[in-house]
């Protein structure tokens, strides 16, 4: 497998949304929601983007309270968290004002039942004006839709979708070290719509080619190898 970050249609749409978020008009809010089924590469894509663009990646936890979240954000912004919650909030805002960075909040579904935490994030966004990206699972848009004040601030909503046939072809060209025939790609697409599963197929195809000395892998080679 080649060691590069593969660009699928989901990644392209994510990058386009982040580009628009970064270049938005000052009067517009700067929040985005990215959601989709597990295994489609949301977290990986967001992490890749954060690493390349200096974003701050926060992974929320199920038991997270508002204070815990603020502590995590302040620590990730490079400051030592203060004791009082009000000071934590102030630290957070001042850090973001002095050096604006995009905040990426992963697993935002966990926070969907705690209005106080979500509203705190909204407060940070309103005061500091920093772009904020929420990553959530399949029903994240419906869960967050209950908070109208928050949902209205999402200027970009990106849904990660199952890989299309073209995506599988692109991925094979970008990642797979062995050539796959059209019927092999059809088979992979029919069986696996998710990134992780497609990678497993590519790995199997590479092993088959290496062991049997094949230059091209067809569907007949892959059949029964799932």
């Amino acid at each position: 497998m080649k060691q590069i970050f593969a660009r699928t249609s989901n990644v392209t749409r994510f990058c386009a949304a982040m580009e628009r978020l970064g270049k938005r008009d000052d009067a517009l809010p700067g929040m985005a929601l990215v959601f989709g089924e597990p295994g489609l590469g949301k977290t990986r894509t967001a992490l890749w983007w954060a690493v390349q663009n200096g974003g701050v990646f926060i992974r929320t936890k199920k038991l997270m309270s508002g204070r815990w979240l603020l502590e995590e954000i302040v620590a990730e912004l490079g400051e030592s968290p203060a004791y009082r919650t009000s000071d934590l909030f102030r630290q957070c805002v001042e850090q973001l004002l002095s050096r604006p960075r995009t905040l990426i909040i992963d697993e935002v579904d966990y926070l969907a039942y705690d209005a106080r935490v979500l509203e705190t994030l909204r407060d940070i966004h309103d005061v500091a004006g920093t772009p904020m990206v929420f990553l959530g699972m399949d029903k994240a848009d419906k869960k967050l839709n209950r908070y109208r004040h928050l949902y209205d601030r999402f200027i970009e909503v990106v849904r990660f979708q199952q890989l299309t046939r073209d995506d599988v072809t692109d991925l094979a060209e970008q990642l797979c070290e062995v050539r796959l025939t059209g019927d092999a790609l059809d088979l992979i697409h029919a069986d696996a719509g998710r990134f992780r599963q497609v990678l497993k197929w590519f790995y199997k195809a590479e092993v088959l080619a290496r062991v049997n000395g094949l230059e091209e892998i067809a569907a007949q080679h892959l059949n029964g190898r799932k």
Partner: protein, 166 residues
């Protein structure tokens, strides 16, 4: 808000200005302005000229402080307006990715951080020896998992042999 205070301070040029003048110019509360001015003063961007108490009809007398901007203020203000470029090097990026992933393979790091396999190998080896990473298997084996064993924070820690990390 700090930007607004900095802008108001700069509008006075080389002249002295008072806390009240900045509060009027920015439309912010006096206490908030005083806090920002204190921050600018401690950072050496403005210098305090003098302070005096203004007698009030009742309660504690208000304090009027006079400042003057230093040449650093304009420089810092214009620096701050530009979007800061990412000064992270490859190892900083890998450290950030490791802290998010927690469990990873060398391939994951190479793909996400856009680093060459050799650089990833040096990184994992250096931090394994420093005790920050642990390998769940024989290091060097294909597809072996690595975990973050010690997380000292977002700033990449120095490893043995590295004298300065910034």
């Amino acid at each position: 808000m700090l930007k607004a205070v900095m802008q108001a301070c700069l509008s006075f040029g080389e002249r002295f200005f008072s806390l009240t003048q900045i509060a009027e110019a920015t439309g912010m509360e006096r206490q908030a302005v005083r806090h920002r001015l204190w921050k600018l003063e401690t950072a050496g961007l403005i210098s305090r000229f003098r302070s005096q108490e203004i007698p009030a009809g009742r309660g504690r007398p208000a304090k009027e402080i006079y400042y003057r901007a230093t040449s650093l203020l304009a420089k810092r203000f214009h620096e701050g307006n530009e979007r800061p470029a990412s000064k992270m090097n490859g190892w900083d990026r890998m450290w950030q990715a490791v802290r998010v992933l927690r469990r990873f393979t060398r391939n994951d790091l190479a793909q996400i951080c856009g680093q060459k396999g050799e650089n990833v190998r040096c990184f994992t080896t250096a931090y394994r020896q420093a005790g920050y990473l642990r390998c769940l298997g024989r290091p060097g084996t294909r597809g072996v998992m690595w975990i973050l064993a010690k997380d000292p924070g977002p700033k990449r820690p120095p490893y043995k042999g590295e004298t300065h990390v910034d």
